[in-house]
Amino acid sequence: MTAPLIEVRGVGQQFRVRAGLLAKPKRVVAVDGVSLQLKAGDVLGVVGESGCGKSTLAKIILGLLEPTAGEVLIDGKRLASLDRKERARLIQPVFQDPFSSLNPRRRVRDVVSLPLVAQGGMSTPEVNRRVDEMLARVGLDPSMADRLPAHLSGGQRQRVAIARALVLRPRIVVCDEPTSALDVSVQAQILNLLAELRREFGLSYLFISHNLAVVEHVASEVAVMYLGRIVEQNQAAALFRDPRHPYTKALLASVLTPEPDLGLPETGLGDAMPDPANVPPGCRFHPRCPIAIERCSQEAPATQRNGPNLVECHLAAPA
């Protein structure tokens, strides 16, 4: 068996945050003991609400943030041991907001060529040739190359971000909410493009999103995060067909599919919003859990595994 492309081992991330000048610093637990693997050719979806740690996890995997615990292996090598150039050839990001993730003063050509130039050793005509080729591949007209990001639509900007991510032909792309800022018709175009590029270039995606319908559409495997931990993981089809964890169930029930006969769901979740600065004892989901028992507030549930299905809950077993 080949080594997974990404292996995350017991990764944790804590921040110390001061709420005010005289306040005692608070400990914010963004990610806590997360382990997961991305196999070659897969799309691993990571879902969860804001503050669940999914974007922090993405930053750790991209090497933009050094975890306070655990380690990340990319293609079998420790992420910390890779230099920036090596890392850039393996793994690239596409972020949510193409309005803020592109330098407003650089023309499209400069944005997309930067990764190639930073690698060094490539002639200018060769750089230009590759940039033109990639712009064409993501569906941008050659005339766009000399425009500034401000002169592009949201969808075009996200195409630029994708071209920049792929110009080095990396093996992994970390997509952090890549379509959340876009209109539905543009979202569909970008999702279709990402799917085509994945097949064409043999890419693997780590796909982070709060939109479960989108994740169900693109992912082969899904990890559900809650307050810094993966509370359930499974192959995508199985997870959506047979969710085990009460949080996964509530999350899936909350998705408003365009089916007028279904009406509005009752999530069963209370008002106790998750706060990473104040992680509850025991199972961290228990204050919102509709089926919690006393044990849930005292004892953290162990990780249960059965094949691809992982569940962390006292009251649910893996499928």
């Binding site: 408003l256 599919t257 769901p265 919003m273």
Partner: protein, 323 residues
């Protein structure tokens, strides 16, 4: 029954650019009317026009603009502001920008009451506490003394809703009220609005880009494209028998479990929304439409199916049903 809010032939323009063209819609008591469309289609501007909140450089014309039978067109700013927050209220997408960070929740809520109805501050605070409980905020007494930044996004939106309800409005205009919220909170807030509607007989005009929200909350839907209402119908009809090519395209873009298999390409609409000037003629969607024909550049017909389904397109229903 006459509609609570009645709009016909609404035009709004900014400089030479047209934001809304001939939009018509009605909202009845106890009914949610969803105005759906993508960014820039004119849905928010339409809502602002009804509240008399358009920016100074906007020009508004309407054949009909009536609230509870009364003409809104000739009202002075003073008369409009008496209606706003009282008989018609509005909530916005981002509660953080519509709440004043320098005042407590209680004093902001009380101000609405004092301004429109007078009475004592004490009574206004009691009313505020009652409404916080009504929108299912626990320990309302404590929340009254808190500042907006001390609340989560979901709580802030509940506060906004409670504040909108202070004077028992008849019409609530909600502009993307759950777009900034997590899905679980979105479901809770929309349920709350539906329950309040049932109890209070509220008419709700809900503006959204999310077809899932439309499907689950609307009674009636109007689809906007480039400033025009291109299709309007009861909610079930829109999803089971969409007629306008834009509505059809929009529906095909949304991944629906069970309808589109994972990995299969989603439908998409090629091209971009055109800029529409005052002299624009014909169907604004024609350049992106696979059914375009020469007469799409001329005046467009509004076809009607039965009493409550209409769409703006040259292709008649019999022909459209076959495509």
């Amino acid at each position: 029954m006459t509609a609570l809010l009645e709009v016909q032939g609404l035009d709004i323009s900014f400089g030479g650019l047209t934001a809304v063209r001939g939009a018509s819609l009605e909202v009845n008591r106890g009914e949610t009317h969803c105005l759906v469309g993508e960014s820039g289609c004119g849905k928010s501007v339409t809502a602002l026009a009804m509240m008399g909140l358009l920016p100074g450089n906007a020009v508004r014309r309407a054949e009909t603009l009536r609230f509870d039978g009364g003409d809104l067109r000739g009202l002075s700013e003073k008369e409009m502001s008496r209606l706003r927050g009282d008989r018609m209220a509005m909530i916005f997408q981002e509660p953080m920008t519509s709440l004043n960070p320098a005042y407590t929740v209680g004093s902001q809520m009380a101000e609405v009451m004092l301004r429109h109805r007078g009475g004592s501050r004490r009574a206004a605070m009691d009313r505020a506490a009652e409404l916080l409980a009504r929108v299912r905020i626990t320990s309302p007494g404590m929340r009254l003394g808190q500042y907006p930044h001390q609340l989560s996004g979901g709580l802030r939106q509940r506060v906004m809703i409670a504040m909108a309800l202070m004077c028992d409005p008849e019409l609530l205009i909600a502009d993307e009220p759950t777009t900034a919220l997590d899905v679980t909170v979105q479901a809770q807030i929309l349920r709350l609005l539906a329950d309040l509607q049932k109890d209070l007989g509220l008419a709700i005009l809900l503006i959204t880009h999310d077809l899932g929200v439309v499907a689950r909350t609307a009674h009636r839907v109007s689809v906007m494209y480039a400033g025009e209402v291109v299709e309007s119908s009861p909610v079930r009809t829109l999803f089971s028998r969409p007629m306008h090519p834009y509505t059809r395209g929009l529906l095909s873009c949304v991944p629906v479990p069970g309808k589109i298999r994972p990995g299969e390409p989603l439908g998409s609409i090629p091209g971009m929304v055109p800029q529409v000037t005052e002299r624009f003629e014909g169907c604004a969607f024609r350049q992106r439409c696979s059914l375009m024909r020469p007469d799409c550049a001329g005046p467009i017909t509004r076809h009607r199916l039965g009493v409550d389904h209409a769409y703006l397109c040259q292709i008649p229903p019999e022909e459209m049903a076959r495509s």
